[in-house]
Amino acid sequence: MRMPDLTALLTATAVFTSALAFTAQAGEVHVLNWKGYGADEPWAVEAFEKATGNKVVNDFFNSEQEMLTKIRTNPGLYDVVMINAAFNDQAMAEKLIQPIDTSKLANYADISKDKAGSPMLDHDGKVYGVPWVWGLTALAINEKSFDKPPTSIAEMWDPAHKGRVVIRDDAVEAVQFGAIATGQNINDIKDMDAVKTKLTSLMPQIKTFWSSENDWNQMVASNQIDIGTYWSGSADRAKTHFKLPVSLVIPQEGAVAWLDAFSIPVGSKNVAGAEAFINYMIDPKFYVEWVTKVGAPVSANTKAVEALPEDAFNRKVMGDPEVAKRIQFQAPITDAQREAYLALWQQLKVDVK
C-alpha cells in the first residue's frame, strides 16, 4: 500500500504547487484525437500540465466521420481537435471550428510556409487549422521477403507475392492508390475505369484488408505478408519501437501524403488553454521526444525536424527533395466523390468473394 500512497501524495503536491503558480490559467483542456497519437502520451501530458497548469482530458475517435459526429453532438465539450487537413474545409463549413489567433502561438512562425499557407487550412485570410504533422501512405515491406527493397508500385502485382499482399480497408485510400498506380493525379482522377481495372487485377493478390496498425504488425511478426500499403509514421514505429522487420518504400510512381492539423471547436470554454496546448504540440522539444520514445510522422515545424539527428528517417528520407517531388497531398473530397469511391470499393470486394 505504500507505493500508491506515495504517488498520490506526489501528484497532490504537484497539482497544488502548479495551481499556486498558475492560478489564472488553470483549467481543463479537452482534446479529441486518435488514440496513441502524440497528444495522449503520458509524459507529454505531464510536461504540459506542469508547464501551464492546465489539465489535459483526452478523448478519441476511430474515424474522421466519428470525429465530426462527436463535435456536432458535444458542442462546447472540446477545446482542441485534431483534423486531417482534407476534412478541415467541411468542419469549417459546418461551423464546427473557429479561427485561430496565431499570434498567440509562439511556435507558429516556424511552421514551414507551404504547410502554414495551405488553402485547405486557411479560409478568407483566417487560420482554421495549425499544421502539426504530415506523413505518407506509401508501401512497406517485410524485410524477410526481399533481398533489396523494390522501387516500383508494380511489385504489389507481382505473382511472386500472390496471397501475401495487404491493402487498407479504406475506399478513398484504395482509389487514390489506384490513381497513383495508373499515373494519375489523386485529386483529379480522370480515368476511373483504369483505376477500377488496375485494382481488380490487384484483388487476387490480396491476403486481407488491414484496418489498424496492430493488424499490420501482427501479420509481419508472424511472417504472413510480403508487402502492402502502410503509413510512414507507423512503419517507422514498427521498425524503431517494435523492432519488426519493416521498411518503408516510397515508390517511384509516387505516394499519397496527408497533413494533420489542430483546430479549436466553436464554443471552446478554454481557448487560452487550447492555444497553449497546440503551441506545445508543435514545439521542437515535444516532437524530438515523441520521435525518440515512440516514433512519429514528420513535424510541420521546420525547426522541429532540424532538431532530429541528421540520419533520422523523418529528416533524411522524408525531407529528401526527390521524395517531395513524388508525393501528392490529399485535397478535400466531396461527399459525392467519397460515396462513389465507396461504391467502387465495395463492388471490388464483392466481386472477389
Binding site: 475506399a171 484483388m203 491476403k207 484488408f209 504472413q224 472477389v352
Partner: protein, 289 residues
Amino acid sequence: MAAQGAVAARSGLRSALPLLAPAYLWLTVAIFLPLSAMVFFSFMTDLPLTGKPWAFTLGNYAAFFSQSLYLTLLLASLRLGLEVTLWCIVIGYPAAYVLAKVLKGRSREAIFLLVILPFWSNGLVRIFSWAMVLREGGILDTALNAVLPFKINIDLMYSYPAVIIGLVHSYVPYMVLTCYLTLQAIDDSLIEAGRSLGASRLQVLKRVIIPLSLPGLVAGAALIFVPVVGSFMEPRILGGRTGTFYGTVIEDQFVAVFNWPLGAALSFILLAVVLVILAVASPVLRRAA
C-alpha cells in the same frame, strides 16, 4: 363470443401491464425511440445535423433494389446466418442433452457455468487468438503436421471457414443453454415410459425429446441467426478478402462515409427480412413438432 374474447383480452392486458411495463418502458426509452429517429433519417436525402438542406425520399430504399451488390451480400449474409445456426444446433444440442440428461450432480452446474464463461473475455482478443490457431504455421497447422505422417498445409485464416469457426465459437453457448433449459425440464419418467413401451432410443428422441425441447431450440436458433446476419466484426477480421457481408457495407455507410440515411435504410431492410423469416419459420417448426 367475439365480444367476450375481447373483454378477456383487455383484462389480460390489465393484469399483464404491471409486469410488462418496466421492461418495455426501458426498451422504449433506450432503443425504440432512438431507432425511430433512425427510421425517420432513412427517409431523408441528407442529415439535418450537418446543416445541409434535406428532403424526404424513398431513394435510400430504392438503392437496395437498384444495385445488385446489396442483394448479393444480403443473400450471402443469410446463408452465413443459416450455416452458423445449423452448426450451432449440430454441436450444441447433443451437448445440451448430455448436460441435462446424462450428467448428474454438482459437475452439471459447474459445466453449465463453464460453457458461458469464455464470453466474459474480450471478443477481439478471442478473435486474435483464433488467428493464432488458424493461420499457416499456427497451432492447428503445427499440431496436425506433428501427428500426421504426411505434410499438409493448413491456412484457414482469412477465409470463409474461418468466419464460420469464429462465429460458431461465439454463438454455440446460446444453443447449449437454451436447449438445456427445455431438455432439463423434461421428466425422466416420460422417457422411461416410452422406452418401456418398446420405443427405440431414436423413436423416443424423435417423438418425445425433440418436440418437448423445441421451444429452447427455436429460441436458441433465433438468438443466433438474427445477430449473425448483421455481424460485421468477425467477418471483417477473420474473413480477409472474403469477409465482405451485408453488415460490413452497413458499417461502411456509417464509418467511412457520412451516409446515415442509406445505412439506416439498409439496416431496416435487414430487419424486415429477418422478421419475415422468423414469422414464416416459427409455425413451420411448430407444425413439424
